[in-house]
């Protein structure tokens, strides 16, 4: 049985090694904060961090995560300094509408702010272009990322 390090805990996962991280999280472990949107890395709803870098968990098999650290929305919004600032900015700016894509948006935004302390609008657009929001919350996503950057400065 493969073992994954998820949010700092080694966790045995009763799933085939070819199973994408997304389905190991959602169906095997019951961690449903990470969302299924397209299954082809085209929408970003399933974004998690692998050793701190954003990856699309819907196409990343658990075999590719062996020995590495997976971080999901459940931990990033609760335990991570940058993630907490992003979460707070998301709430303050009332970013979410249906909210379904926002786990992925927050994971991408957090990764951006870990790499770039003061992103420009162009940086934000480049980092967030892979995350689709059908409600069209992009104006507030930009504002919230700038705001989180300010809080962290």
């Amino acid at each position: 049985m493969p073992t994954l390090n998820i949010n700092g805990k080694d966790t045995a996962v009763d799933a085939d090694e070819s199973t994408p991280i997304l389905w190991a999280l959602r169906d095997t472990l019951g961690m449903t904060g990470t969302k299924f949107g397209c299954g082809q890395a085209l929408c970003g709803a399933c974004t998690v961090h692998l050793n701190g870098a954003p990856v699309r968990s819907c196409i990343t098999p658990i075999s590719a995560a062996a020995g590495q650290k997976i971080t999901t929305i459940e931990a990033i919004a609760a335990d991570d300094k940058v993630g907490k600032a992003v979460h707070a900015a998301w709430v303050k700016h009332d970013v979410a509408q249906c909210g379904y894509c926002q786990s992925g948006q927050i994971m991408s935004a957090t990764a951006l702010l870990k790499g770039k302390k003061k992103p420009t609008d162009a940086d934000i657009d480049a980092a967030m272009a892979g995350n689709v929001c059908r409600c069209g919350t992009y104006v507030r996503i930009r504002a919230a990322i700038h705001d989180a950057a300010k809080t962290l400065a």
């Binding site: 085939d16 169906d27 019951g30 085209l42 929408c43 609760a78 509408q97 786990s103 507030r140 930009r142």
Partner: protein
């Protein structure tokens, strides 16, 4: 979706719910007292009994038995949707939980409806929560008499309802405090979750809740003077903001039941096709696959459901199937051929929706001859369609995001061969919808029930969640119908329109559905022509063709106005341009004195954008459009440019008239999002096409949706008003594409006539 009285030409609104009721009853074989209506006294008691039996939080305050007592004391004149017991729960700690009678799928009624109730209740907003109601009769739309989230109607139809519910609850709390203090209720007031008595003594709502339940439910209540409002009209953050910003919000897809299995379906490549032959040996060999079942699919088709212990094995199972399909009995539409057919039809006489004298057309000094093409569009909500069914021998329970839980419950009962009262629907928060979760055929619910039934027959008793992939969603039909518009307009040098001959060709959305009987009149589907002509007093003849095509179609956010607004607003603009008039001044003149809300919205957008005053950056042009849909008006003034044949939208200024605003934050978000969705219809790749009956697109790679890189600056301005509120879920969408196109036409001299935008 749109069930507006004005679209029905002469049918008074108060006739509609009953008409709709009768039609739905007939079509679905409903048991009126159980599933839809319970407005008479007998049904009201039934409602209470059913509620208690199903373990439903009877609201009301902490104790179920006492709540029944309280409700029993309610005046017989109160209908289920007027009973506080079904909508308000106050815990001992003062937490107020408001049940919402609509689906929240991003539009914000989950916060807006509680705001309305809390206003009259004088609740402490920091202690207010909300939950979704189910298919209980109490949660029907009070104007339609059925469970329906659509037509931007939630706030419009439930504003007074929720105010009265709040006021009734407040009166009961005040009555309880008066009894406890031995004073007259008139000596008491309420403030922020407390009843305040003589000398400033206070009792919290939580402490009073139990006693309040024993108070009579007042039939008549006095509502606040809007000048006293402290919540309504105040920009208010969503109640679910924290949950949705931390992965804690559950949606239909997140429902987890003990032992639950997941089904993925191989559907026929052409709508209504069947299985010719199947080799499922490889699929069955995949670890985790429990069963491979032949199941009914939509439109009389047949598919194969793979039931497994998770989505991944189910999908692998589907990929391993060897299926040959039989599509010999169904037609195979091809959008290229359809376009040619629609163009031919557009030149022929159709059913006449509006009549006017077209004689002046021939001799008109100026003429515009235009043909517009609008493609099929998929809704593509972020949360893929899903429905979880727990089927027992004689009852079933369903979990899904749905805009019409009552209709879905009846369709489920029919599919499962159960009595409607034995089917319980648990409405779940939905990750978007845009119309796709309001299906007259209940397609994804019926299919999931068919799978649950087949699974049970195969010996599987576990609950089954049917889950669609994105490919299933994009290819699965129920699109905004493809349309061709043709217009011949004659006008004079001053822009006076002498005759306007307009033809619309496209499938009817409501034909064959329970809505047909009152939405189609003289062969014309009201949803196809909404948004035509108004607010311009022009002599228009409007003809309509509704060809039958083997493609399932559906309302798509703002419905008919997705195409009518584009045709109307680009043509009006072209007349202004041809006669060298300012497009804003020309519109205002054409509106005359009859459309003050249109004028106010347009003038606000013009003033806030700097239109006509501000100097634009090099290469940019202004574009303007204004449109009413669902009784709200939105005007856009945009700045756009064209570089190397590619248009770009830089900024959007919105002027909105939706009467009284409950939550300005919600309106702003709806306009931003609807504008972007409107912009999305302009962008390359925003089209569903079919070849030999097969949908050619499959995912976000070839069916393009707008991304953050497409998002212009948007500022939203609202015209102040104290009139009864209208909805804002949809009206922000229609005027965006024509405003953008009009800016492009200012630059290129040519109006694009096709969406997604094609700059010839």
């Amino acid at each position: 979706m749109h069930f507006e009285p004005h679209a029905l030409q002469g049918q008074a609104q108060h006739f509609m719910p009953k008409n709709l009721q009768a039609i739905v009853d007939k079509a679905q074989g409903a048991i009126t007292s159980g599933a839809i209506d319970a407005s008479d006294g007998v049904a009201r008691r039934t409602f209470l009994k059913v509620s208690a039996a199903s373990g439903f939080a009877l609201g009301a305050f902490p104790l179920v038995s006492a709540a029944q007592g309280a409700a029993a004391a309610a005046p017989a004149g109160l209908k289920p949707h007027e009973q506080p017991s079904a909508f308000v729960r106050i815990d001992a700690d003062g937490t107020v939980t408001v049940t919402i009678n609509r689906l929240d799928f991003g539009q914000g009624v989950q916060t807006g409806l509680p705001m309305i109730l809390a206003e009259e209740l004088d609740a402490d907003w920091s202690k207010v929560r909300s939950v979704h109601g189910d298919a209980n009769p109490a949660y029907a739309d009070p104007a339609f008499g059925m469970h329906l989230t659509g037509g931007s109607n939630s706030i419009k139809h439930s504003y007074t309802q929720y105010r009265e519910l709040g006021a009734r609850t407040r009166a009961m709390l005040v009555g309880a405090a008066a009894a406890q203090w031995g004073v007259d209720a008139s000596a008491l007031r309420t403030s922020n979750g407390f009843v305040v008595g003589p000398g400033g003594k206070k009792l919290g709502y939580g402490a009073l809740a139990e006693a309040a339940m024993k108070q009579p439910v007042p039939e008549k209540v006095t509502l606040k003077d809007p000048k006293q409002f402290r919540l309504i009209g105040k920009p208010t953050g969503r109640l679910d903001a924290k949950a949705k910003s931390s992965g804690q919000q559950d949606y239909g897809i997140d429902v987890r039941l003990p032992g639950m299995l997941t089904a993925v379906v191989a559907r026929p490549p052409v709508f209504g096709g069947k299985v010719k032959s199947l080799d499922d040996s490889a699929a069955k060999a995949i670890k985790g696959v429990k069963a491979v079942l032949r199941v009914p699919t939509d439109r009389g088709g047949e598919g194969i459901a793979i039931v497994a212990d998770g989505y991944w094995p189910a999908k692998q199972g589907r990929d391993a199937l060897k299926v040959k399909w039989d599509t010999s009995a169904v037609t195979k539409p091809d959008t290229t051929a359809l376009l040619a057919q629609y163009r031919e039809l557009a030149a022929k006489p159709g059913n006449v929706a509006m009549q006017a004298d077209m004689a002046p057309l021939a001799g008109a000094p100026h003429k515009i001859s235009a043909e517009f093409v609008f493609p099929y569009l998929a809704h593509a909500p972020m949360e893929p369609l899903n429905c979880t069914v727990k089927l027992d021998r004689d009852k079933a329970e369903l979990w899904m995001g749905t805009q019409m839980p009552g209709l879905d419950a009846m369709a489920a009962a029919k599919t499962l061969g159960l009595q409607p009262q034995n089917v319980k629907v648990n409405t779940q928060m939905a990750g978007g919808g845009f119309g796709r979760r309001a299906i007259p055929t209940s397609d994804y619910v019926v299919e999931a029930c068919g799978i649950a039934k087949a699974a049970r027959t195969a010996g599987i008793t576990a609950p089954v969640r049917t889950l669609w992939s994105r490919e299933d969603d994009i290819k699965g039909g129920y699109y905004r119908p493809m349309h061709v518009h043709r217009a011949e307009i004659g006008f004079d040098a001053k822009g006076k329109i002498l005759a306007w001959d307009h033809t619309i060709v496209g499938q009817s959305i409501t034909k064959g559905s329970p809505f047909e009987a009152f939405m189609i009149k003289n062969g014309i589907d009201a949803t196809a022509i909404e948004g035509m002509k108004e607010p311009y007093d022009v002599p228009m003849k409007l003809s309509v063709h509704h060809p039958d095509v083997n493609v399932p179609v559906l309302w798509w956010r703002s419905v008919g106005s997705t195409h009518t607004a584009y045709a109307m607003e680009t043509l009006i603009d072209e007349v202004a341009r041809t006669t060298k008039q300012d497009p804003v001044a020309y519109r205002l003149a054409l509106m005359g004195d009859k459309h003050p809300r249109h004028k106010a919205a347009l003038q606000l957008a013009v003033a806030q954008s700097g239109y006509g005053k501000k100097k634009l950056a090099a290469g940019r042009a202004w574009g303007v459009a204004v449109h009413e849909s669902f009784e709200s008006v939105v005007a856009y003034v945009v700045e756009a440019s064209v570089k190397d044949g590619t248009p770009k939208l830089h900024s959007i200024t919105a002027g909105v008239h939706c009467n009284l605003v409950v939550n300005p934050k919600s309106v702003e978000a709806q306009v931003q999002g609807a504008a972007l969705m409107g912009l999305g219809t302009c962008l390359p790749g925003a089209a569903i096409t079919l070849k030999d009956g097969v949908v050619e697109q499959s995912n976000f790679g070839d069916y393009a949706v707008p991304r953050i890189t497409d998002m212009p600056q948007v500022t939203v301005h609202i015209v102040p008003s104290a009139d009864p509120p209208k909805g804002m879920g949809e009206p922000g969408l229609p005027p965006l594409a024509p405003a953008f196109a009009n800016a492009i036409a200012q630059i290129t001299g040519k109006t694009p006539r096709e969406l997604p935008l094609k700059l010839a």
